[in-house]
């Protein structure tokens, strides 16, 4: 059982008999009052989003799901194809099912696919992924003022803020849980 204070982004839980994932989470506490947990949740079966506000006393069951190790093979149109590492069976997920993971999926990447009663519904990526910067505004030499970030685009089409010295053609490491730049990767 989860209690309301366990709520955080990406927690999976059962709500009205469906598996949901917390996509946005806001802790609200009016002065000296009881805590409120304002959540945006995505129904992992239908993809539809709902807003719910929970209180400290609310409890939840963990989502009734199972994780399988798979390899990402390729993307074709809006389908993302994966192979089950155990039985080599292939499955396809829609862009909606893949969600934010589409920003970091690179061919041959090992990941975990979440199954709900034999249906693939979500993906967990490695925490860190190295991606190629395919489009970056040039670095104006001498601009070393800290706090000056610039947006770049990586090979998956994802846009991310990086320090000014990162250049096109370099590889950078991204934390897939936060979507944030971590460091440049040499070689």
């Amino acid at each position: 059982m989860y209690s309301a204070s366990d709520l955080r982004k990406n927690l999976r839980l059962m709500l009205d008999d469906d598996p949901y994932i917390v996509v946005d989470f806001q802790f609200v506490k009016p002065g000296k009052g009881q805590s409120l947990y304002r959540c945006k949740l995505r129904n992992m079966l239908t993809g539809s989003q709902i807003d719910r506000t929970f209180r400290e006393v609310d409890t939840f069951k963990p989502a009734d799901t199972e994780e399988k190790n798979m390899q990402f093979l390729y993307k074709e149109g809006d389908s993302f194809h994966f192979m089950d590492n155990e039985n080599y069976e292939q499955i396809a997920l829609t862009q909606e099912q893949v969600g934010d993971a589409k920003n970091f999926l690179i061919e041959n990447m090992e990941c975990k696919v979440l199954m709900f009663r034999d249906r693939p519904i979500d993906i967990t990526l490695p925490n860190f992924v190295d991606v190629l910067v395919t489009d970056a505004p040039p670095w104006i030499k001498g601009d070393t003022v800290s706090g000056n970030y610039k947006p770049v685009i990586v090979e998956t089409g994802y846009k991310v803020s990086v320090p000014p010295f990162v250049e096109q053609g370099e590889k950078i490491r991204i934390d897939t849980r936060t979507g944030e730049y971590l460091t440049r990767v040499k070689g």
């Binding site: 204070s5 806001q26 802790f27 609200v28 506490k29 009016p30 002065g31 000296k32 009052g33 009881q34 805590s35 409120l36 304002r38 506000t53 400290e56 006393v57 860190f128 800290s146 706090g147 970030y149 320090p163 490491r173 934390d175 944030e180 971590l182 460091t183």
Partner: protein, 307 residues
Amino acid sequence: MSAQWKLEAKREALETRACVLHATRAFFLSRDYLEVETPNRIPAPLPESHIDALAAGPWWLHPSPELCMKRMLAAGYGRIFQIAKCYRGHERGALHLPEFTLLEWYRAGCDYRQLMEECEDLFLYLSGAMGISNRLTYRDREIDLSKPWERLSVKEAFDRHGSIALGKALEQDRFEEVLALEIEPRLGNLKPTLLYDYPLAFASLARVSKDNPAFAERFEIYVGGLELANGFSELTDAKEQRRRFEKENALRSKRGRPPWPMPEEFLEAISRLPESAGIALGVDRMVMLFADAASIDDVVSFTPEEL
């Protein structure tokens, strides 16, 4: 994995933070307040139902310096302020850190209305020190800090901004929900708002209003939708205070939390309190305003997650 650049990027906000701290001290010293320090580690916090203290060995980290400062007030220290690190469990969000900085001050011979005026003066002093005269820009909104600020009673706020009236909200146990989700975002967007006169059930240490006994002389400051401070005329009736603590403890038990021991020395001191008022102001959030930061994470050197 180091995120050194994130720390580097905080420099401007941390400079604003230092400026806020220096100017706050200068403000209170100019008004003959004594800066005090009280222990952060105490045998037990005051019984309040919705604040969870963090353990430090067999004792507790204080959720606020209120307990010790009021004992000082009762001992004749009539103008005191403190900038203290405080600790509260289960509080983490864009406006909450489990370790945060509170500014508390207490003044004998005044009530909550005079304290409201002192808050106005403090902000004007700070904005002067920051070199922004009385115009604060927060999240693309320009907020006019000049006196007088908007004064809005809790009842009026429910009528104006809530989907249901105050009486209904209390009846349906939705007071906090309506206040936090519907009313708060609409407060303090043109000028700061002083929200005042809270229903008695939501003011565990405040004096009952002389004009309306269903309310307590408590107020909160809102600037740009941020709740910044909680102040009140001090309750000086030890018997009434004991009853309220017992009620808070009962609420804790209902939530499955252990009750706190009765703070006997504190209750004894309460009966010797002069007529006075006191307030706790979130320093981190005040820095957020002057640094135009969206999250409390942006105005502290390290969040717990970054350690």
